[in-house]
């Protein structure tokens, strides 16, 4: 069971290739499919190797990909508490 899972927002991708290059486990490759802008988004070719380190997410200039650690059932670990808290604002 993979330790992590990748999530890709295909329509945001501009196929820069950073995620493919800098994934330490070589989980990704650019696909031959393309999104509506004509870019080839990445796809997961080695899902079993994903550690959920989220380096892909850190490198992506387009906020098109991220990874999360997953538990034994494959559900993502709880998102960071701060990520939830940011939605606030003065009422």
């Amino acid at each position: 069971m993979a330790k992590g899972r990748v999530s890709i927002v295909v329509e945001r991708c501009k196929a820069c290739g950073f995620c493919v290059e800098f994934c330490p486990s070589h989980v990704l490759a650019l696909s031959s499919a393309f999104n509506s802008k004509g870019y080839h988004p990445p796809h997961v070719v080695h899902p079993e190797k994903c550690s959920g380190c989220d380096l892909c997410g850190m490198y992506c200039p387009d906020f098109a990909i991220c990874a999360s650690k997953v538990d034994a059932s494959g559900a993502p670990a709880k998102p960071g508490a701060k990520a939830e808290a940011v939605k606030g604002g003065k009422k």
């Binding site: 899972r5 990748v6 999530s7 890709i8 927002v9 295909v10 329509e11 945001r12 501009k14 196929a15 820069c16 290739g17 950073f18 493919v20 290059e21 800098f22 490759a29 650019l30 696909s31 031959s32 499919a33 999104n35 802008k37 870019y39 080839h40 988004p41 796809h43 070719v45 380096l55 997410g57 850190m58 490198y59 992506c60 200039p61 387009d62 906020f63 991220c66 990874a67 999360s68 559900a75 993502p76 998102p79 960071g80 701060k82 990520a83 939830e84 940011v86 939605k87 606030g88 604002g89 003065k90």
Partner: protein, 306 residues
């Protein structure tokens, strides 16, 4: 790029919703104006990567977002203000720093970030850069340095390396370029660091450190401009630039800033160069007034104009 395409079992089913794993929340998403993404930056441009690092620093530093204001100038990096979900100000070319100074002076409780490009901050904005550093105004300045004026089509910037080609130096740049960490240190900044867009984790850490500091902090991030700088100088695309940063960067914390100047193809010294303590502008201002005026000094309270 075609070499990277894996042709096994590729079809458009890959774009199906079930495979998009939407149960995974991008930790950075709450900081973005999602209704404006995809953004305008080119494929392989590093600005988005810096925003990623910045957002992660906001998470790690647990900073109160309600007290954050982000100010940018004009240029590709200047567009950052429009994509982040916080009080953000897209001001005039070169003048993000004085605007940010105004915000901070009127409301000292604000955490004010200036997020702008090398041309905006060091050319037209150069005067304001050095004075804010001299005064040690409590600002966190993130200077994305793509070595060019990108938005307007690739003109020479004060940071464009000697010998490279730009649209206004079509026969090669014959000027020396600014060594920004050196300039800003000399002007008086209390925190000076440089990273590249390859150093995503270190950049997040530096931004975090700047948030913990009071005074003028300056973080330079070398970033690719694939469409103009890279292309005109036959240096490949954004990914090529990232590989170059990975290969040619040398981390030298505490390196004397006089030694960190950049050349077109040489090594890039990165790291935290300056981290000193010096009272910031407002601390000095209040101290001076207290000393000179004694009881007559009235503290600035919350601005009451409504």
């Amino acid at each position: 790029m075609t070499d990277d395409l894996n042709d096994d079992a590729i079809n458009t089913d890959l774009l199906n919703a079930d495979l998009l794993n939407t149960d995974i929340l991008n930790p950075v998403e709450p900081f973005l104006r999602s209704d404006r993404i995809p953004h305008i930056w080119c494929p392989g441009c590093g600005i988005g990567t810096t925003v990623n690092s910045f957002a992660r620093a906001l998470i790690e530093s647990k900073i109160d977002l309600g007290s954050l204001a982000l100010v940018s100038g004009i240029g590709c990096t200047g567009r950052v203000a429009g994509y982040v979900k916080m009080d953000s100000f897209h001001t005039t070319h070169g003048r993000a720093i004085p605007f940010a100074t105004g915000l901070k002076l009127a409301n000292p409780k604000l955490n004010v970030v200036v997020y702008s490009g090398d041309g905006d901050l060091s050319a037209i904005g150069g005067n304001h850069l050095i004075h804010a550093a001299r005064r040690n105004i409590d600002l966190k300045v993130i200077c994305v340095n793509n070595l060019i004026y990108a938005m307007t089509g690739g003109q020479t910037a004060p940071t464009t390396p000697h010998h490279s080609t730009t649209s206004t130096n079509p026969y090669g740049v014959f000027e020396s370029s600014f060594n920004l960490p050196h300039l800003v240190e000399a002007a008086g900044a209390v925190y000076v660091a440089r990273w590249t867009t390859f150093h995503v984790r270190q950049l997040t850490r530096s931004i975090n450190e700047a948030f913990q500091k009071k005074g003028f902090s300056f973080i330079e991030v070398i970033s690719p401009c694939p469409t103009l700088y890279q292309r005109r100088n036959k240096m490949g695309d954004g990914l090529e630039a990232m590989k170059y940063y990975k290969e040619k960067s040398k981390i030298r914390h505490g390196a004397p800033t006089a030694e960190v100047g950049m050349t077109m193809t040489g090594e890039i010294i990165v790291g935290k160069f300056v981290d000193i303590e010096r009272p910031d502008y407002q601390t000095m201002m209040r101290g001076q007034y207290q000393e000179s005026l004694g009881e007559r000094f009235v503290e600035q309270t919350e601005m009451v104009c409504s």
